[in-house]
Amino acid sequence: MASAVLSIATQCVSPNASSLSINETHKGKAKLGGSTLRFSKSSGRISMTVAVNVSRFEGIPMAPPDPILGVSEAFRADTNDVKLNLGVGAYRTEELQPYVLNVVKKAENLMLERGDNKEYLPIEGLAAFNKATAELLLGADNPAIKEQRVATVQGLSGTGSLRLGAALIERYFPGSKVLISAPTWGNHKNIFNDARVPWSEYRYYDPRTVGLDFEGMIEDIKAAPEGTFVLLHGCAHNPTGIDPTPEQWEKIADVIQQKNHIPFFDVAYQGFASGSLDEDAASVRLFVARGMEVLVAQSYSKNLGLYAERIGAMNVISSSSESATRVKSQLKRLARPMYSNPPVHGARIVANVVGTPVLFDEWKAEMEMMAGRIKNVRQKLYDSISSKDKSGKDWSFILKQIGMFSYTGLNKNQSDNMTNKWHVYMTKDGRISLAGLSLAKCEYLADAIIDSYHNVS
């Protein structure tokens, strides 16, 4: 067989190595054009092998660092003592330490004691989790749930759930576009791009007021072709922290109904924004109560601190239970070639916390505590800036905004100054994560913001 292999070798030599001139011999290797001939002895035979030096992925460029997750990397590399990480939205305690919720520890202990097995979940995920998450979102006695019109599939946190929704749109609504807010969470665009779903923007952030451009938003939603998917943040808009008022939500729902659009909610902060699970779900429930068909992606990264467990859900509220069944089956068909079935650990934690009344109550209290700390920090920051800044600029948007993030109104150069001069790490769009701010650091941050705003253009 060895001789047969060698004869094939001389017949089918690749064009690159056509000149069989031996350029140099080096430790039993010989260079052959672009490849290296290696001579090795194996089982008494000398065989000639051509080492493949030219890779199939030769021309692959280095990808840019992720604009959000890259901030933490840069922060970690900074050796300065005063550095502050206001980049990624992960909750920190007043001591700026990561926080594992007590209910999560308790749930995990229960799970450890029970010795649950590690079998595959079904493609749609843990049934107990799916039930709990839909009820949390809509309310346990919501008619949509009672009438079995809600298709819920466990997803890989918010990102994975959004990606499932995007894949559903690409497959079953070819040509349909998604309307996303300007600005929105950076990864939204990546998700729809990679899922090959075209998108355009609706006006959202008004830099003059550092608030909502409501007229622009309504106009742009109206102008979109019928049947557009409209991506809405259920609460605590990321990155601005600016949410519509209840009255504005009603008007948004009006225009979406009029234009026969489909609302697609991203709910990443339920409970984390106001401290109340029900209040933060009000926008979604409003749309569902009107009988609209709605897509909703959920995440438990922030509100249960389960970031790295990747636990969330894709919900499709449909007009009939029959339709919901079909939609669920197709969501599963999209998930199977992505990851087969979702990770079990986070799902069990959520199911245990929500399903155990005493743990559920504890969770609500811990969530109020976290949301409360954010509110306190907002107040302290506002107080610090207002007392230090004599220019008369209105900084009250800091108090009006809600949730983990605040859009400071700083531009890219100013944001760079925050980092380069003050070692405050944030994203280039001027977004700061209040979850990474302690009361103790508010004065320092106030100084940094005032300097960047006034002295850098």
Binding site: E119, N187, Y307, V327, M338, H345
Partner: protein, 425 residues
């Protein structure tokens, strides 16, 4: 589309006049019910069956001799050690560095020069499926005109993965129905006839669904020919350690290719060999020319992963890195994985013995020739249906039997059923 829009549009205008009115028609009218997943659908049907005799030899999840799922002791211990840790913050997009390091050592060799030279671009992935999907997406992005050659047959989900990633598939001969073994000459011919520089999907060990693996000598010849043709070898290794009981031995094919100088791609899974099925933990690696390229490739894999799931789940990764990173736990794991592999090998022998004792007219040595969790029995779809309908034995219609579902309690029953449905074949 226009018809649907106008219909629901009219209804919409009518119904929006009445506050809170229900929509009559749905956006999702055109969405058809998906067919049941051929593999996971088997378990669903099994669970619904009320018969006391029912046997599930469908999905590939290990069971002990009592038919119970097993959580390895090394895993339980790892979980005790990591309990209460503050590890819930997001992993990097590429996952747990420690887990990836350990995975590369396991696959490429503890002292691999490629690891030393940092030539491997690698990320944590969502088990084997996620690793394959990430590679398929990577292949699509950087070689948009390429195809993937997959063996006939292969794991059903391979088709879905490359299809949904937008990469067309071609096939190469693999299974030889007449011998229930490898169609080696067909395989070599198809490798030779594929255009130079094609992408080939290879099962590193314990081929799923057939259990038929090339011999070491055959792997060497496959490697030589693939090298001559300049093909790209992508390995799916879902059973390292689980096939023979020895992870080093199960990685033999990969080591042969590495020695030969191939720049391989590799999907690894810990679902079976560490029993971490539901944790979804695995690794995707691409061996590059040099460190610079490895860094670039890893960055691009991360760019693909971010809009899929942002960053991978931590729990399973922590278990893997704890087990593999601690010599005591790793030794325990090696023992436990051998126990699992040995039980399977034992069941193969018993099933074959039983069939031969029953006086089956058909040859059954393929049961013991094949390796790993699955046996390609040779049963036809009709025979499989009889197995299910008459005997409540659940398996996939391609005749694949998951040996892990067999135990001393049911192997006789299953042998008898196989004999019944095949004796007049």
């Amino acid at each position: 589309m226009a018809v649907r829009n106008s219909l629901s549009g009219q209804l919409l205008r009518r119904s929006s006049v009445v506050a809170g009115a229900r929509f009559m028609s749905s956006w999702f009218r055109s969405i058809e019910p998906a067919p049941k997943d051929p593999i996971l659908g088997v378990t669903e049907a099994f669970l619904a069956d009320q018969s006391p005799n029912k046997v599930n030899v469908g999905v590939g999840a290990y069971r002990d001799d009592n038919g119970k799922p097993v959580v390895l002791e090394c895993v339980r211990e790892a979980e005790r050690r990591i309990a209460g840790s503050q590890f819930m913050e997001y992993l990097p997009i590429g996952g747990s560095i420690k887990m990836v390091e350990e995975s590369l050592k396991l696959a490429y060799g503890e002292n691999s020069e490629f690891i030393k030279d940092k030539r491997i671009g690698a990320v944590q992935a969502l088990s084997g499926t996620g690793a394959c999907r990430l590679f398929a997406a990577f292949q699509h992005r950087f070689h948009p005109n390429s195809q993937i050659y997959i063996p006939v047959p292969t794991w059903a989900n391979h088709h879905n993965i490359w299809r949904d990633a937008g990469v067309p598939m071609k096939t190469f001969r693999y299974y030889h129905p007449e011998t229930r073994g490898l169609d080696f000459s067909g395989l070599m011919e198809d490798i030779k006839n594929a255009p130079d520089g094609s992408f080939f999907l290879l099962h590193a060990c314990a081929h799923n669904p057939t259990g038929v693996d090339p011999s070491e000598e055959q792997w060497r010849e496959i490697s030589s020919l693939i090298k001559i043709k300049g093909h790209f070898p992508f390995f799916d290794m879902a059973y390292q350690g689980f096939a023979s009981g020895d992870p080093e031995r199960d990685a033999k094919a990969i080591r042969i290719f590495l020695e030969d100088g191939h720049l391989i791609g590799l999907a690894q899974s810990y679902a079976k060999n560490m029993g971490l099925y539901g944790q979804r933990v695995g690794c995707l690696s691409v061996l590059c020319e040099d460190e610079k390229q490895a860094v670039a490739v890893k960055s691009q894999l991360q760019l693909l992963a971010r809009p899929m799931y942002s960053n991978p789940p931590v729990h399973g990764a922590l278990i893997v890195s704890t087990v593999l990173g601690d010599p005591e736990l790793k030794n325990l794991w090696l023992k436990e994985v051998k126990v699992m592999a040995d039980r399977i090998i034992g069941m193969r022998a018993t099933l074959r013995e039983n069939l031969e004792k029953l006086g089956s007219p058909l040859p059954w040595q393929h049961i013991t020739n094949q390796i790993g969790m699955f046996c390609y029995s040779g049963l036809t779809p009709e025979q499989v249906d009889r197995m299910t309908n008459e005997f409540h034995i659940y398996m996939t219609r391609n005749g694949r039997i998951s040996m892990a579902g067999l135990n001393t309690g049911n192997v006789g029953y299953v042998a008898n059923a196989i004999h019944e449905v095949t004796k007049s074949a």
